[in-house]
Amino acid sequence: LASDRDQPIYIESDSAERNEKDGITIYRGKVKMDQGTLRILADKVTIHSIDNQVTKIIAVGKPAHYQQKPSPEKETVIAKGNTIEYFIDQEKLHLINDASLKQEGSTMTGKRINYDIKASQVKASGGSRTSKQRIQMVIPPKPKGNAAN
């Protein structure tokens, strides 16, 4: 939800390391992070802060999971990637390596997917021409009833 970014971030993990000077906190081991309807599950989550304000979050996993409800009437967006970068100020998400994003029933996969949370817009890029990670988009057919309009 739009209000998610104004919510506190709650995070649980097996262990953690804080570096006050650099403003970096690294959470390791079955990491679960919640901020409003946004949830990230990963093996490792690094929280970057400037003047004690969180600016960027990087989640790493095999894969790392992300989900968030864009608005009350819309379905939850579900995404995965070996690395997920979440830029709080710009409300942007980068899904890197084995990336996939499911939104309003359609699913996109590729090497890298950039998702603008505010605008609910997706931009994907595939791997090199030879790699199997080309962009794929699956849009389910509309149920028979609405095929006419």
């Binding site: 970014r5 104004d6 993990s13 097996d14 953690a16 906190t25 802060s49 004690n52």
Partner: protein, 195 residues
Amino acid sequence: MIRNWLSITALIALTLLFITLWESPPAQFRREQAQPQKPAHIATTVLHDAKSTSFDAEGKLAYTFNAEETRHFQINPKKQSGKDYTEFTSPYMVLHHDPANPWYVQAKQGKAKKNGTIVELWGDVIAWQIDANGKRSELTTTYLRLKPEQQYAETDKPVMIDTAGSKTRAVGMKAFLQQDRIELLSRVRGIHEPI
């Protein structure tokens, strides 16, 4: 018939004897259990409102130490040894690894061992730092083991870290104060406040 009676009476007598011995054992049994307590160590030196200042190898201020009461115990009256120890009440230390941003540590009780290279603190242990903007980072636990010369602290107890913008709880911690780096060892729960 008589033999039956004899064996029953013997059984009853033995049982009664057993109960009597169990209830009130003769004095010599009791004396073995209640060994006299070894006399507690007697403090060889007691100081009140002591304050000490320590410098590192290059002569720079390393840490200062205050305590309401300091009691020093020398195990062997004839010569000092690594086993000697010092107990203190209301200890308060300032670790000056970074003169602009020292760590302050206080507790209810404490004990210094191995010629002061190890300091154990317990009872409302608080360690805090105040950054250049005046913001306070605070760490609280029930027990802390410090190595002042190495600016290092650790605990296996629950710990809470409160900074401007975040609150973190865990069980077990290793703090490398010189590098401002803290490792939280298990069951970590963090809350980061929004922008």
